[in-house]
Amino acid sequence: MTINLDLLIPEILVGSLAFIILGLDLFLKSKYKEYIAYIAATGLILVLIFSIIPIWNTKANIYGDILVLDGYAIFFKAFFLTFGAVLILSSKNYVGNNFSYIAEYYSIVIFTILAMMFMVSSAEILTAYISLELLSFSLYVLVAFNRFNNRANEASIKYILLGAFSSAILLYGVSQIYGHLGTTNLVQIQQALSMNSEMSLGLIIGFSMFIVGFLFKIGIVPFHMWVPDVYEGSATPVTAYLAVLVKVAIVALFIRVLVVGLMPIAQDWQLILIGFSIVTMVVGNVVALIQSNIKRLLAYSSIGHAGYILLGVAAIGTLDQKGLILVDFSRLIVNGIILHLVSYSLASIAIFLCIDIIFGNSEEEQIDSMKGLHDRSPLMSLLITASLISLGGLPIFAGFTSKFYLFNSIGTQISLWYVGIAIITSLISLYYYLYVIRKIYIDTNKDKTVINLPILTKGILVFLLFALIFIGIYPNILMEFIYHASESLL
């Protein structure tokens, strides 16, 4: 057993950054506290540049087999650091205006990033569980951060109760698996499963609980009830955080668990996951049709997107006659999923950032009050439109390319009828996206006060627009990184 701590330097640095920011709070005068956001974001970017890039090509196990560092883990670590920095910068104004404890907010956000970095590199399910709990506990605090707001408190209570419930289910699954197989290591689980073809009842229950726990955390129908309430109740930057980074992290962990650990029993879970994903796509997109609150609408839309991704996850588990995974095709699907996660993240960050500028801390984020936004802020209108069109899957934005890639690669593995359903639900989603665009561009409003954007926000918006278009028309550069990730996983 080798302890190569040097490979853990990124995590150590991120953890220290969180404590440094917490400590800075004691010494900084309050007028300087707004600069903490810059410190946090710069810190994350520096960690990315100086500790992730040097280990880019590493493939190693850390602490025996507890953690694994491969291209897949490193890609997602880089993803979390980059998007974490973008989210921190984009929430700077909101946090400065509305929260009283600025440094605590940023340090908790950095703790969640630390948790996510551990999640994606965990090689056994107990570590995965522990890092998932570190993430969840930080998020409980973040959701309730707006503590004088009743909706935030309600959302937080719901999130804690359902989060604890789903963690319990997950942990029960873990205990059953350990009880029957005698190991929590993913590779050893895979070996144990491929050796005995018969599965005992306890093991079946264990795996079911385990998978259901994950579906709960991702927000798959019928375990999605908490998603709209929590998204609506939390402060908008936290919602963005939940919708983007947290979802990506859990999906990334889920893929690793399934692909590395549970692949021998793929034909048992594939059809179940397909069923869940179809229900999710349909319910998410249909229920979104009747929402009048933009944050709830986006919550349901994100449920729909989780459905597309789950369909991809299910499609990975196609085995050939010998019971082996079709590596080439599965890699293609993993590429598709990651590309779609990136494009979904970009679009969601953009739209949530715009929402928190438009509505600030007001209680009601009605779609109707976005009427005539074009007269008030052309840049934000353009960006909301671009992100919605991207989420709806029309060119020239990233969403089209990623959806095409994802659905096309799914189509190589499972029946095209499922893909057809996915595309039809994507058509349904276009209706409510267009409805919002119609409010912004076509309807007019008496209130024509121009919304002034700070230079930082403008910069982030332009960056996101550029990224959306760039990935839409030239995804090659990003795809190189994604290939690197998927090749090391499979």
Binding site: G411, I423, P475
Partner: protein, 515 residues
């Protein structure tokens, strides 16, 4: 010159995009500069399009002016995975005609939008995005980019109609522009759902790892069984048929055309509906020949219904623009019938009809737009004798009307006679039935056009229509360009027909060879 010749196809996509970006960075209050940028860009594009027509070598035929950019490789799984998705541009005889049509309508459309009042900048940016998409569809030989540009041309329509459009008052109810915009977008995207599924199916079934149409065409005989071809061809004709205004999925098209502003109606009815028919040829007939062979009777029936149903609907309209909208539905029926005849003359006629109808409808909508702009109504029960007040607009309308009823000497006649001959020759005695119905459709067209002409344009004018603005000089220029093309296409169609024949022949040989 060689440099231009090598890269000429990508220019047709790039120029509208460059135009869009130039306008995007111009401050919004410089209205005139924006208009002149649009005019210059579309004029250059028009010249490029004519150059494509000249550069294409009819004698050698086939796909020419190829241009290739390897966009994204699909690593691992396939023999041709390194080709993956590439921007493969090329033209055959059919595309050349369609590109020529697009360039013309683009230029005349800009001239017709000279009097757009509000948010000029946004209008032209979206307009050029739309055109870039249309050009891209016509010249792509890669299914991914075909679909990419197809969707790109759908997206701007929503805002173009929703903001700059006009609602129409039916006395008992009002059909709002927002409704029409939403309906149009959802119908077209619904069509693209089917196309998308069919594209993925073809890609997976071919198993090459490339979306390149020319590569997939080589393995059609080995890889695509009959049932597969039938299922996918059905999806293709419904998916593209929606865009081509095929009955019973045509309902978006009159609403959309009527609600759209003039130049967008021109592009939409003139060019965008042709994307549907073009897609049936490019993907359906080229890649799924056996499926085409067995399902063409269905398309023939639907096309025939289109002709008759569209003509009768046009007969019942009281809104000038709705008459034109339904006449488009009726004329697209001819195109579908020509395609379905699976016969050399019929197919040539269908493509020529696509061209001729594009020019004709653009002229129609140009005239109707000008009339609506100055009269503020399109109700044919109110409008009377407007030729005295608006001579140019009236002449344009009458000219387009005569083309649409197939007056010899105008391009519509050449196209329709070819289609009739093709339909009569196909399917034995049933072909005679369909052919007769098609000719009857032309008769009904004559009724509704001549009725309009006699009353609306040459009737006794009311006293209260003084102080009417005539068409602007740009609208007149646009109209004259279109009229000249119609006359040229009617009196001397040979270069066009030769061009189409060189594109149609390999496709037909492919289908007949697959039998």
């Amino acid at each position: 010159m060689d440099l231009i010749k090598e890269n000429i196809l990508i220019l047709t996509i790039l120029l509208p995009l460059i135009g869009a970006s130039l306008i995007f960075i111009t401050p919004g209050h410089l209205n005139n500069i924006i208009k002149y940028i649009s005019l210059v860009v579309s004029f250059i594009t028009f010249i490029i399009v004519i150059l494509i027509f000249i550069f294409y070598d009819i004698n050698s035929g086939g796909v020419q002016l190829l241009w290739n950019w390897n966009w994204l490789s699909l690593k691992g799984a396939w023999p041709l995975g390194s080709e993956g998705i590439s921007l493969n541009l090329g033209v055959d005889g059919i595309s050349v005609m369609m590109v020529l049509l697009t360039g013309t309508v683009m230029l005349t459309g800009v001239m017709a939008s000279w009097n757009i009042q509000s948010r000029n900048k946004d209008f032209f940016v979206l307009y050029f995005l739309l055109l870039a998409g249309v050009f891209g569809v016509f010249i792509s030989y890669d299914m991914f980019f075909f679909f990419f540009f197809y969707e790109l041309s759908v997206m701007p329509m929503f805002l173009l109609i929703g903001y700059w459009g006009s609602s129409s008052d039916f006395r008992t109810f009002i059909r709002t522009k927002e409704y029409a915009a939403m309906k149009l977008t959802l119908f077209l995207v619904a069509g693209s759902v089917l196309i998308w599924v069919a594209i993925i199916a073809i890609f997976v079934q071919a198993g090459l790892g490339t979306f390149n149409l020319l590569e997939i065409q080589k393995v059609v005989d080995d890889k695509f069984p009959l049932f597969f071809q039938q299922v996918n061809f059905l999806m293709i004709i419904i998916g593209f048929g929606i865009l081509a205004g095929m009955w019973p999925f045509h309902t978006w098209s009159p609403d959309g055309h009527v609600a759209a502003p003039t130049s967008v109606s021109m592009v939409h009815a003139g060019v965008l509906m042709k994307l549907g028919a073009f897609g049936i040829i490019r993907i359906g007939m080229a890649l799924l020949p056996e499926g085409a062979n067995s399902l063409m009777p269905l398309l023939m029936i639907l096309g025939c219904v289109n002709v008759i149903y569209g003509a009768f609907s046009a007969l019942g309209q009281t809104d000038l623009k709705y008459v034109v909208g339904y006449s488009s539905v009726s004329h697209m029926g001819y195109v579908l019938m020509g395609l379905a005849s699976m016969e050399h003359l019929g197919l040539t006629g269908a493509v020529y009809q696509m061209f001729s109808h594009g020019i004709m409808t653009a002229l129609f909508f140009l005239a109707v737009g000008a009339i609506y702009h100055s009269m503020h109504t399109r109700d044919i029960l109110i409008l009377k004798g407007i030729i005295k007040k608006m001579p140019y607009a009236s002449i344009f309308f009458v000219f387009a009307g005569l083309t649409s009823l197939g007056l010899p000497g105008l391009s519509g006649f050449a196209a329709e006679i070819l289609i009739f001959l093709g339909v009569f020759k196909s399917y034995g005695s049933l072909g005679v039935l369909f052919g007769s119905l098609a000719v009857a459709g032309a008769g009904i067209t004559a009724i509704y056009i001549l009725r309009l002409v006699s009353k609306v344009f040459f009737g006794r004018p009311d006293q209260n229509i003084n102080n009417i603005l005539d068409t602007t000089k740009f609208e007149n220029m646009a109209g004259i360009i279109l009229v000249v093309l119609i006359l040229f296409g009617g009196l001397y169609p040979l270069p066009f027909i030769d061009m189409i024949t060189s594109g149609v022949t390999p496709i037909l040989n492919n289908i007949l060879g697959a039998l």
